[in-house]
């Protein structure tokens, strides 16, 4: 159905003398996807320009300049990926997976420690955080493994294999420690397995195991004296259940974010914003940027951003259905799941309904690794879309 409409939208798909647009492959790209991703990063730059003027003394555009550069680089990366046939990644799955695990492990050796956590390498221009790009790499590799292993072993064996393949890098990230990204890895694994057709009963067992593990980590382990989570991690995870007035509590931050968003009302407070301007909300350029949008631009601004994410994820889900092969379906499903999980957890955290986990808001939160990785993911989606279009073109051509 989509295909029919898309075909009609292009009057002359196989021109004898292709124009510049055709040469660039623009007609085969998903416009909604490109538009929403570009609009989000533009909105991010716009917000940072207004909200972080006084953050770095002497350079009012510190974050703005950098985020703009990351955005441009991201768009370039997205376009380049569009021109690559994503199916190549399936063949490279072992290499990709190895690179993923090694790059994350190297952080332990060469990593740059920030706030007690080694997550990134210090590069000349920015600090590169392998686990961000690792999210996309995990999707590409894991989808390949699922396709590859589709006919070997029993269903249970396969399920356990996928889980192990997905959770191994998650565990590495967790040890950095970076709980948020580890959770994203987990979500990606589950999304790929879900689209890959793992049985419902297996998911039920995984769900039960997850609940049991949560109880063990949060209740049993601290009780017997061998806590798995660090104190602050546990506090953050549970603080949304009990907001607090103590500025040193994690619940305080969440409460301040909630107040910030609420105080924006319908149209926002603009430069009269106080919550996010006077540091009541921490990490306002990264994890809590949604609170800045909520306070400055009100419901109109926040709803616009949410709508752009809805568009992004809708287009991703649509690409799942368009893919020319199962590998594309799994990759697109994994990316859609990854984006949905990150957006819901981050915005939910800002709105006080999800725990504080340190998951950035894709394309909005300041940070080169995250912006670039998200554009890479969007580029892979575009590649799947383009391949689907080209194959249709080919099929109709012959």
């Amino acid at each position: 159905m989509y295909a029919t409409r898309a075909r009609r939208a292009r009057p002359e798909p196989f021109a004898v003398h292709p124009g510049i647009a055709e040469r660039l492959g623009l007609p085969y790209m998903d416009g909604g996807l490109a538009l929403s991703a570009t609009a989000l990063v533009a909105f991010s730059v716009f917000t940072l320009a207004q909200a972080t003027k006084h953050d770095v003394p002497g350079s009012p555009y510190y974050y703005v300049d950098r985020q703009a550069i990351y955005g441009v680089l991201g768009i370039v990366a997205m376009y380049l990926l569009t021109r690559i046939d994503y199916s190549r990644f399936r063949e490279l799955r072992v290499g990709i997976y190895t690179f993923l695990c090694v790059s994350i492990s190297l952080v332990f050796v060469f990593g740059f420690a920030a706030r007690g956590s080694r997550r990134s390498f210090e590069l000349p221009f920015f600090s590169f955080q392998p686990s961000e790009l690792g999210k996309v790499l995990l999707v590409l590799a894991l989808a390949g493994f699922v396709i590859d292993g589709a006919r070997s072993g029993s269903e249970w064996q396969r399920t356990v294999r996928y889980l192990c393949l997905g959770l191994a890098p998650a565990a590495l990230v967790f040890l950095q420690p970076d709980l948020g990204t580890a959770l994203v890895f987990g979500a990606i694994t589950l999304a790929v397995m879900y689209v890959g057709g793992v049985r419902w009963t297996h998911f039920a067992v995984i769900g039960a195991a997850f609940v049991a593990m949560t109880v063990a980590v949060l209740v049993v382990a601290p009780a017997v004296g061998t806590p798995v989570l660090k104190g602050y991690q546990e506090q953050r995870l549970t603080s949304f259940l009990h907001p607090s007035a103590d500025p040193s509590d994690a619940g305080y931050q969440q409460n301040q974010a909630k107040i910030a968003i609420g105080s924006g009302e319908k149209t926002g407070r603009g430069d009269r914003a106080t919550q996010t301007r006077l540091n009541f909300v921490p990490e306002r350029h990264t994890d809590f940027i949604f609170a800045v949008i909520g306070e400055r631009y009100g419901f109109m601004g926040a709803a616009l951003v949410l709508s752009l994410y809805a568009l992004l994820i809708w287009r991703a889900l649509r690409i799942v259905t368009l893919s020319k092969n199962s590998y594309g379906t799994l990759v697109a499903g994994g990316i859609a799941g990854m984006l949905l999980f990150q957006v819901f957890v981050n915005v939910g955290m800002n709105l006080g309904i999800m725990p504080i986990t340190g998951i950035p808001l894709p394309l909005m939160s300041y940070g080169g690794s995250s912006v670039l990785a998200t554009f890479v993911a969007v580029g892979v989606l575009q590649s799947i879309h383009m391949q689907a279009r080209l194959s249709q073109k080919g099929r109709f051509a012959w």
């Binding site: 793992v198 009302e265 106080t274 919550q275 540091n279 709803a303 020319k324 949905l340």
Partner: protein, 622 residues
Amino acid sequence: MYLRSDERGPAVNNRLALRLALFGGFAVALFAILFLRLWLLQVLDGEKYLAEAKNNRTRSFRTSAPRGKILDRNGAVLVANRTSLALQVNPRKLPEDPAERHAELSRLADLTHSTLKHLRKTMHEELKLAPAAPVTLRRDVGHYLVYYLQENQDRFPGVEVQRVFVRAYPDGTLAAHLLGNVGEISEKQLKEPRYKGLQPGDEIGQEGVEDTYDKYLRGRPGLTRIQVDALGEPTPNGRLVSKPPAPGDNLKLSIEKDVQEAGEAGLAAKGLPGAFITMDVHTGEILALGSFPTFEPSLFTRPLTQKQVDETYNNPSAPLADRAISGYYPTGSTFKLITAMAALESGILTPSRSIYDGGAFTVGGESFKNAGGASYGSLTLVPALQVSDDVFFYTLGDEMWDTGQLQHWAHALGIGRPPGIDLPGAVEGLLPSQHWRNQLYKEGKTERPWSAGDNIQLATGQGDLQTNPLQMAIAYATVANGGTVVTPHVGKEVTDAAGRVLKEFAPPPRRHVKMNPANRDVILEGLHEAAQTPGGTSYEVFGGFPTPVAGKTGTAQRVGHADQSWYIVLAPYPNPKIVTAVTIEEGGFGAESAAPVALDILEAYFHKHATASAGPNGGSPG
């Protein structure tokens, strides 16, 4: 699993389509949750959060207002203010490392003669009230401490010194008891309606006129509201409201500093516990009121050392007690004025009735002797007062023993009842009566019922009677002014900084007592003879005093103590303006120690009011 291969072509089959539909539905549900939550926060509850955000970003600082001055009736300053240095801790600037923080607080506790526990408690309590605001640890710190802290600033991050107002007493101990002191409001006081609007840590008057007239003296603290960031740091151009502190109004007392000084010096010279009061007999204005031993009121402007606590609170001679208004004393012969008035008004005595004094009075087998074993023969009232004949008054006491007339008149004149003075701590005292003792007897609290002996004792100010200079001054003033029971007070008026009178205190009399002016005249004549004719009990002291006065000595026996000396004098005679009552514990005869102090007071008073002594009524009768 539906994946069998990665064959080309659209990969969607029916089972995958179902899963993708569910995936899409799940995504729609999650977005719906986010949109609804956003709508709830921003549109439905937005106002509430906006108010919270506004409240969040402002911080109020109170600047304390200087209290009003306390002046004497002529404007001489009794209590003023001085600025002092207060030690504050800014918790935000303390070291974050718990060990360093602990070490710094320990050093601070040592420096301020406090304990770490106490210090942490103070900080905890203050921070509950005003999070992130500086906590005042000690007021009025010495300069040596400030210099030390400045020199060692790096060892005391977060410790600050601020200027605050504290009370200053230019005359040291002068009028310490009636002035009272200032201190931090207690938790209990915070709940009282008169302290509505005050906050913990605010200072209020705690004793004396500082307490009674607190609402005039206190002033209004200034309020500065500034915009702050999350760390509580003021933001640039962030001043929102600024209300300067309004200093308290000045309080002018009816006290006359010279008279007060004379009384205190006189008492101090005796070196024995005692008290005095000088009051206007017509208005109840108190010109002087003091108690000995006394204390430095400035003591309370800083925390007491253990030595100071011992010297003030745990001292057996109770320097903090205001004996003039809270003493419980028998009065000795000064009570005879009341006995005479009761006898005259009830008709059992006339100015011409003589009573024979054979040296002792015997009733029910019990013998009451004259003081010193003297015997004066037949006497009328005036000579009986002049020589303070005991048998004369024993006889009157015996005649009124079950009529209640003596108690009626003593009560009417203010003995054994609240005096209504504008100072906290005034006591009711005890006026023994037939009903009172019989009630005790019925309850088994005493071994005998009321007897004539009790009333004979009371007639000469002995026995169970418990009163104080204030009550006796009221009784004498009432007789002197012809029956008006005045309301004693020290507060005279409230003035603003420019001296304009904002409020005057002239409390109406408590009540009026009907009395025959002739009876008053004959009693005052007797007292005048006692003070200023040869043979009078205090002639040796007042015989040479240029102003005619009427004064009565008293020598009260207190169980377990040497005799207590009393003197109460009305001046000038015969139309008194002031009454002065002096008592000195273990001071011996009335004329021996109390009367000389009263003389000092009157000299000081008449030195100032020279015209009064030379007035038309000033001539001595006979």
